[in-house]
């Protein structure tokens, strides 16, 4: 008997009384102003920076990372810095990328390596944000799934976006057939050493959210 049929047979051999699926709780709706206020407060509490109003991209990028050389953007932004707009990271990485990591740590060479894995700043577009935890969602439109994690600093542009109250509302809106999607609620963090909060654990050291 295969393990599959063995496990299923064992499970079917035990009669467990049926329990029906419950209805979801209904949550009182909030006004748009209240949602925006909550979103800002919760994003800041999680360590994100929220920006709106007149946007100067050179300044936004510099304040995320003053020495940013390798910058990637999934859309057009007006800046005096050179920005990659297509990203040709190979699906499979080779040993050479490891060598590159040790080089970039010591080198201040400017960006002339379009295949580079290691970005200083990535600017990505999101269309969905959640007020209760200050999070934003990215879907498979991200050119390579690793970008929001491997970049040192992450900037998210919220464009034509829905701001919903809770995670439940977000899942309602999202297409469940997406190959990949991610909810990001702040910069990478850890408190694994004596419960001291440290921002910038493994993935992006900072998260800037730009409301457009």
């Amino acid at each position: 008997m295969s393990s599959r049929s063995d496990i299923l047979a064992r499970l079917r051999g035990t009669a467990v009384p049926a329990v029906s699926l419950p209805a979801y709780p209904t949550i009182p709706e909030l006004t748009q102003e209240a949602l925006v206020e909550r979103f800002r407060a919760n994003a800041s509490a999680a360590g994100s920076t929220v920006i709106s109003g007149n946007l100067n991209w050179s300044e936004i990028i510099s304040s995320a990372s003053p020495s940013a050389h390798k910058i990637y953007s999934d859309g057009n932004i007006d800046t005096d810095k050179s920005v990659m707009r297509s990203f040709s990271l190979p699906e499979t990485l080779s040993k050479s990328h490891t060598a590159e990591l040790s080089r970039t740590r010591t080198s201040t060479d400017n960006i002339n390596q379009p295949h580079s894995v290691l970005l200083d700043v990535a600017v990505l577009t999101s269309h969905l944000a959640v007020a209760e935890n200050g999070s934003i969602w990215l879907t498979d439109s991200v050119e390579h799934r690793v970008i929001p994690f491997i970049t040192e600093h992450l900037i998210i542009r919220l464009i034509d976006y829905d701001l919903v109250a809770t995670m439940a509302d977000a899942y309602d809106r999202l297409d469940s057939s997406l190959a990949f999607c991610i909810c990001i609620a702040g910069p990478s963090k850890t408190a694994d050493i004596e419960q001291s909060l440290v921002i910038g654990a493994q993935a992006a050291r900072s998260l800037t959210i730009v409301l457009e």
Binding site: I7, L93, M167, A179, T190, I193, Q202
Partner: protein, 456 residues
């Protein structure tokens, strides 16, 4: 029944300062959990809904697993089934060896701890690096995690500084958490980039869509998975949820219950592999189908591994995770481990005050303390209880069933605690008098006081 747990706890509590520090660290997390849940008016409704969804899952488990497999396969995912830990480990090795992969990164997964996967990989000359910071710390120390969410909660920063000095070349004596975390970041990024395969645990697997959801604060699972050409997700069969929208209930409960965060920083959903890469999901039984047969303990399969019961437990807080000698420590572990391996863990249900705080905080409403009480009875009926316990219980039963004898024993005890010298009271056979003084005995028993004071 051995008494290893009691011995380990006794060794642990000798360092009173450390015990107090551990106790406070965990209580701090419990308090954060309270603050974040009290701010949510629908909290109790969420718990109730989650509990019922999970009960549904347990009742429909075989159907949901088949639905999950069908949808995952249609997404281009290879689904594997493993009866036990051994088979799970062999599947992982077989996937890696078929691709000539000898380096793999792994994010936090209690299932792979349960299966002792790391040892198995190392035996097959495959280098495995745990990438969650806390997990990496305990891996470098060659220890087990002492907590399911906070693997290195038992360690002081100075000890971690010493460890990193030895393994990662940080400055001698440096113990600043920020500095140490940065050193780990640089070290782990090299590992991410040189690994062609990544293993993760699974928080939720969605039957309706055939995808898996993984929650981390560090982003380490996603760095691993999205740089690798082979991604392997290992899960116990009880991690299934029926619908995509059920995540709207569970993600609201998990982070708040675990650390008091409104959500984990990263909540990732993987349905299909990237073009040109492989995605595997391993469904592991390892005692769960047997556990599901036991009606009294079935509800503990609802557990979503948030750790709330551990943080609140007065025994765990003062005994430390390693004292439990089990993969999952604390209240829920004291059900899960002995239910599956009673020969190794029969003591655990007794290492509890049955105060019920675990049940109060459980986000999926598992009746943890009631199950612990039932499990004690079950174990007492089926295994040998130490003579010291049976003798003292039968002695106690004789006194408690004879009111006059009971009153006499009470007044003798009160007289004795007031008048006998310390050495006669605080000796080895008085377990209650170790580490604490007995309270001052009153002149009267409650009965005598009541007789004097009652008004009618």
């Amino acid at each position: 029944m051995s008494t290893t747990v009691a011995r380990d706890i006794e060794a642990y509590v000798r360092d009173e300062k450390r015990v107090d520090w551990h106790d406070e660290s965990l209580w701090h997390i419990r308090s954060k959990r309270d603050r974040s849940t009290h701010g949510l008016p629908e909290w109790e409704q969420l718990r109730q809904t989650a509990s019922q969804i999970k009960e549904h899952v347990i009742s429909k488990l075989p159907d949901l697993l088949e639905e999950f497999e069908r949808n995952a396969t249609a997404n281009g995912v290879k689904v594997h089934w493993a009866r036990d830990a051994q088979e799970h480990n062999e599947i992982v090795v077989q996937i890696l060896q078929s691709q000539q992969i000898d380096k793999v990164v792994k994010s936090k997964s209690m299932l792979t701890e349960e299966c002792k996967l790391n040892h198995h990989l190392e035996k097959h000359a495959i280098q495995v690096v745990d990438t969650d910071l806390g997990e990496r710390i305990v891996q470098l120390r060659d220890e087990e995690p002492s907590h399911i969410v906070l693997p290195a909660i038992h360690l002081k920063k100075e000890e971690i500084g010493e460890l990193f000095h030895e393994h990662l070349g940080t400055d001698k004596g440096a113990a600043d958490p920020k500095y140490l975390t940065e050193a780990a970041r640089q070290h782990l990024r090299t590992k991410f980039l040189e690994s062609t395969a990544a293993i993760t645990g699974v928080n939720f697997a969605i039957a309706e869509t055939g995808g898996v959801t993984i929650c981390t604060n560090e982003g380490n699972a996603d760095l691993g998975v999205n740089l690798a050409r082979v991604q392997i997700h290992c899960m116990g069969i009880e991690k299934i949820i029926p619908r995509w929208t059920d995540l709207g209930i569970f993600t609201r409960l998990l982070g708040r219950s675990a650390t008091g965060q409104s959500t984990t920083i990263y909540t990732s959903h993987y349905h299909k592999p990237r073009p040109g890469t492989e995605m595997h999901i391993i469904l592991v039984d390892n005692g769960r189908s047997e556990h599901r047969k036991r009606e009294d303990f079935r509800a503990s399969l609802k557990c979503i591994r948030c750790g709330a019961c551990i943080n609140t437990c007065p025994v765990y807080r003062r005994a430390g995770g390693h004292s439990y000698g089990a993969t999952i420590p604390g209240p829920i572990g004291s059900i899960l481990n002995p239910t599956r391996k009673p020969e190794d863990h029969a003591e655990l249900p007794f290492a509890s005050s049955l105060c019920g705080s675990c049940t109060d905080v459980c986000p999926v409403k598992i009746n943890i303390h009631e199950q612990l009480y039932l499990l004690r009875q079950d174990i007492t009926e089926t295994s040998v209880v130490p003579a010291s316990k049976t003798r003292s219980f039968s002695f106690l039963a004789r006194i408690l069933t004879r009111p006059r004898l009971y009153r006499m024993a009470g007044s003798t005890a009160r007289w004795a605690t007031r008048n006998l010298p310390r050495w006669a009271i605080y000796h080895r056979s008085n377990a209650w008098g170790q580490y604490r003084d007995l309270p001052a005995a009153p002149q009267d028993s409650f009965r005598e006081w009541y007789m004097k004071n009652r008004t009618s």
